[in-house]
């Protein structure tokens, strides 16, 4: 199925003329600890100013009280910032900044569903705040790249140092950049897409 507008003439005409064909949407998650620059990154590449909403997510119970077979679930509310990049009239990419703290692990299950992959942002002064996100994406087989946000170009760690400290698989791309700048954020997304296209990313498991 073509997604570029330039492919239009090849596509035949599966949609009746009086219907406006809605584009399909895909998403990429931008994860990382509080204050690491998720919304900054979304804002630097989005074609709209970052939007904010609240999603109510299901928290699965721990199973202790499940003897009667009734699922023990509660919900909680999580704030999301997101932006949009229109790929073509047929495809729109949404970028969701997601809370990276460990206490939100449950929500990632909902959020990774239908995601192309993820960008994990890290702050070299607080690397540990990104451990939970990395662990989660690794365990779920969600392809991801790591971005080291260098405000004002301050690079106090090298890429090998960060890779080492995070104990990353050698295939996981790590980039450094000032994510307030569009090219740095764009390159991080491109690294993810290239990572996916190279097929080195493990395929996520079916839910």
């Amino acid at each position: 199925m073509p997604y570029s507008d330039s492919d239009e003439h090849q596509a035949g005409n599966p949609v009746s003329a009086d219907t406006v064909a809605a584009p399909a949407a895909v998403k990429i998650l931008i994860a990382g600890g509080f204050g690491v620059g998720k919304t900054t990154m979304v804002g630097s590449v989005s074609e709209i100013p970052p939007l904010h909403t609240e999603e109510q997510l299901t928290v699965a119970g721990l199973g202790v009280d499940d003897l009667d077979g009734v699922e023990n679930k509660t919900t909680t509310t999580v704030a999301l910032d997101f932006g949009r990049i229109t790929v073509s009239s047929r495809l729109v990419l949404y970028l969701f900044g997601t809370p990276g703290q460990e206490r939100f692990w449950f929500m990632w299950n909902d959020l990774v569903h239908g995601a192309l992959g993820a960008v994990v942002l890290v702050d070299t002064r607080r690397l540990e705040s990104s451990f939970a996100a990395i662990d989660f994406f690794e365990s779920r087989g969600v392809p991801f790249v790591v971005g080291v946000n260098c405000f004002d170009g301050v690079r106090d760690r090298t890429v090998p140092e960060v890779r080492d400290a995070l104990d990353l698989d050698p295939n996981v791309p790590v980039l450094m950049g000032d994510l307030r700048e569009r090219p740095a954020s764009r390159d991080l997304l491109l690294a993810l897409i290239n990572h996916l296209m190279a097929g080195r990313a493990p395929l996520p498991t079916r839910r």
């Binding site: 199925m1 073509p2 997604y3 570029s4 009086d18 406006v20 809605a22 584009p23 399909a24 949407a25 895909v26 998403k27 590449v45 939007l51 904010h52 909403t53 609240e54 999603e55 109510q56 509310t77 999301l80 997101f82 949009r84 990049i85 229109t86 790929v87 073509s88 495809l91 729109v92 990419l93 949404y94 969701f96 959020l111 990774v112 569903h113 239908g114 995601a115 192309l116 992959g117 969600v142 569009r182 764009r186 997304l189 491109l190 897409i193 290239n194 996916l196 296209m197 097929g199 990313a201 395929l203 996520p204 498991t205 079916r206 839910r207």
Partner: protein, 130 residues
Amino acid sequence: MSHWADAAADDEDAEESLVRAYTITQGRTASARDDLTLITVITTAAAPRDQHADRGLQPEHRLILRQCRTPVALAEVAARLNLPVAVTKILVDDLIVRGRVTARPPLAVTVGEEPDMILLQAVKDALLRL
């Protein structure tokens, strides 16, 4: 019976409260369907011939209809209406049931399949244009 919309417009606290959100949904806290996602694309359908077809719609329903004349993801509808996603899902569901909007589910890009190279290339081209 007084309608919530009759409340004083300058009552900011009332605007922010959950009571108002769940008044809009007439007490419902969950959508009847669970297939609406943050990136389900909502599009307003052609206007019904029957002028009375939209009777009973809340102002928020009408705002959604106006907003989705250009297809837009559910998360964006929620953000622009300043309503929680859960409430927005209920309202969108109402409009789907009435045939006033259509919903396009997200592409199944990650569900145990080979990466879709055509899709990835299209995304890559778009990023290179930024």
